[in-house]
Symmetry: C2
Subunit: 423 residues, 2 copies
């Protein structure tokens, strides 16, 4: 859809941006209690508006079916009573988290008597661009609000009615607690030009969080003039080292690939040390085959019955499916070289009982998350104990790894003297 | 100067960028001891190359005089024995700072037995674009190296020879300690197209730090596709509240304006509460006049003998000179409104004995640095105890306030399990 001119889209986003900026004045000084009340109020409003939200979702589903969306996409879009309840629970969980704003991150005294504090502040106005899942509307709003930010949401066109109904309920909750309705705004059009306008809204939007597939990420990287919490693909690797424990390795490899294949923390590539393979044979590959995974095997591994020969393009690919690329490597250095070349900086796990080897993996690689003897499926804000997340940032600026409320803050310095002057 | 085509400039920066990326592999794993040795070696090399550096500087000075640079610009460019010694001392001071890389920023355990650490890492490749001061070459290199980053320096065309000689000495120090020469590279051309190429070098340069005047900052904001640590003007305000202590207020106002007028932490605007003025009269303004400051006074204050009437454009202006804009305001709210409208988010100071008013100032404003009863001239990494700084960031992403070695790091998560899988 594209009817808006660039000028119209810029004007629309400028209006939303100015309202958001106004709201930040109130939000930045809102007490923890008031934000808590707003989030709890929003949870109640979501439950109270359940029928309304389900009706809106039915309309979205009808359009989506007409458009011939895939079953996986339809499933992401679909809401039911339990998913609505989960949204309300998510809002309540964020409400119960500690308030990150105003937290003293560091403080110290100077010899001249100055006392310096570094204190967490909101970032300002956050833009979230996402695709079909309507629950992101509630999750993103909750985390932004908790951290004292105003948010401008641009949901997928498929979920427009669902998101609008959820948004309406959220605003009811905010307003009931005395926070500005403009704390959470939705871009009221499916027009793609509005996305481009958000990406170039310097000074109006402080940071953009894109949640979506390759197309969105590519557009963001090409067009964004506003800072972005990059959220690239999750091309996660598991490396079974020569010193791996067999039982742990079997457990972790299977879980990392098969627990859920559609999440960004799912393993997409298994690297097996040649020493491990010489000792234990095809067992890791066989486990995957037995679990119904399509194993795209490189070199000698392709001789294992049931595998298919890997193409070069299978490495560095995010399958998000019951598919895995596997390869033999000669030790930790070859494994790290492969990961540096093909990884996306998301999450990698080493399976080893050797502390020195694990240490080399931890210091030699620079992914957002590095694991030892643990499933890559733990790459998740909830599993990290952060309560909720708005995504996994694979960039290195500001936020990295799971982005929760704390990562949506900046800081300022508060300096107290007593008529103190500089020599 | 502009002879390079866009394509040539991009190719040049791509070459530097690839070499820098290679160097980061070694730097990221370099021990604190090795980086310390490299910085001390660089300090020694700078001293040993003193004559060479002074000769190069004479050549730059000759060109600069021919071009008719202002005395202030010539002074910034000029090197002498004591300035060279100061550069070496700066390198040694950074060498003695704690190494920020590998620092465990947080760690915790999860109920499932996972142990999670958040550990500081280098950012990667830093681009520094600066103007005439040749010492920035050494300062920027030192801070980048300390934090395990490779750096690509693009100094002002006026200081090309001086910076090249300093760079040569720095590299000698690095190499003597076994670090790659490409850890610190200089763009080998005065061509402005190279600056533009740096600004669009996504994937090659991880962050750009621009140090310079309005022209550079404007170019950066317009053209940058690489993340930037924004470094805007320092339009610093001092607000003398009705509850200010007179003696402290006099001391701080005078120091904030006059100690050094050319630094970004110098006060550019004094706001006086009407209650303070009714009680104490023109004393703060008179002190400034007595110190030879040109006082551009708004409204009633313009009646004070010796002041000149302020133009609207005097508010929100960075004079960097013995000039100040002054204005009467009705209390803290009016002061904050003025600062929000005219400030640049750098540093503001309130003079008050009233804790509640100070608290409102601290929570209601969102500048990088807020002070109470202290001179804005303390807005400086050294004064904050950070050792050295590469500038004062006025943006809110990643770094804010004085940017030292610690602010040039990112982090990663290290997760240790024991064959741990997710349910």
């Amino acid at each position: 859809m594209k009817d808006l001119t660039q000028t119209d889209a810029d004007a629309l986003i400028a209006t939303l941006g100015r309202r958001a900026r106004e709201a930040t004045r109130v939000l930045a000084e809102a007490t923890a209690e008031r934000k808590h009340a707003a989030l709890v109020g929003a949870a109640e409003a979501i439950l109270a508006a359940g029928d309304e939200i389900l009706d809106a979702n039915s309309e979205d589903m009808r359009h989506a079916e007409e458009k011939g969306l895939t079953p996986a996409m339809l499933d992401r879009l679909k809401l039911d009573v339990s998913r609505i309840r989960a949204m309300a629970d998510g809002l309540r969980a964020v409400a119960e988290q500690p308030d990150p704003v105003g937290k003293v991150l560091a403080e110290w005294d100077r010899p001249n008597g100055l006392h310096i504090q570094r204190v967490a502040t909101p970032l300002g106005v956050i833009g979230v661009i996402y695709e079909s899942r309507p629950n992101v509307t509630a999750d993103a709003a909750a985390l932004a609000l908790k951290s004292g930010n105003a948010v401008i949401l641009r949901g997928g066109s498929e979920s427009l009615h669902s998101s609008a109904a959820i948004h309406k309920a959220l605003v009811r909750g905010l307003v009931s607690a005395g926070l500005p309705a403009d704390s959470v705004q939705m871009v009221p059009t499916r027009d793609r030009e509005a996305v481009a306008a958000m990406l170039r809204a310097q000074g109006l939007i402080d940071v953009i969080i894109p949640r979506g597939g390759k197309g969105l990420v590519g557009l963001v990287q090409k067009e964004a003039r506003v800072p972005v919490f990059a959220h690239l693909e999750g091309i996660c690797h598991v490396y079974a080292d020569g010193d791996a424990d067999l039982a742990k390795a079997r457990r972790v490899v299977l879980n990392a690939k098969t627990r859920r294949t559609g999440i960004c923390g799912a393993a997409e590539c298994l690297l097996i040390d040649r020493g491990f393979y010489d000792r234990h044979g095809a067992v890791l590959v066989q486990d995957l085959l037995d679990a119904g995974v399509e194993v795209r095997a490189d070199g000698a591994l392709a001789a294992i019955a049931g595998t298919v020969a890997a193409e070069p393009s299978d490495f560095g690919q995010e399958f998000l499916d019951k598919i895995i690329a596997v390869k033999l490597v000669d030790g930790i250095d070859a494994a790290m070289d492969h990961i540096r070349r093909y990884g996306s900086g998301h999450t990698e796990s080493i399976l080893t009982e050797n502390d020195a080897t694990a240490q080399r993996f931890f210091s030699g690689l620079d992914s957002a998350i590095l694991m030892r003897n643990a499933s890559t499926q733990f790459a998740d804000g909830g599993e990290f104990g952060m309560g909720a997340e708005i995504g996994i940032a694979t960039g290195k600026m500001h936020a990295r790894g799971p982005v929760g409320a704390e990562q949506l803050t900046s800081f300022k310095y508060l300096v107290t003297g007593d008529g103190t002057i500089r020599d």
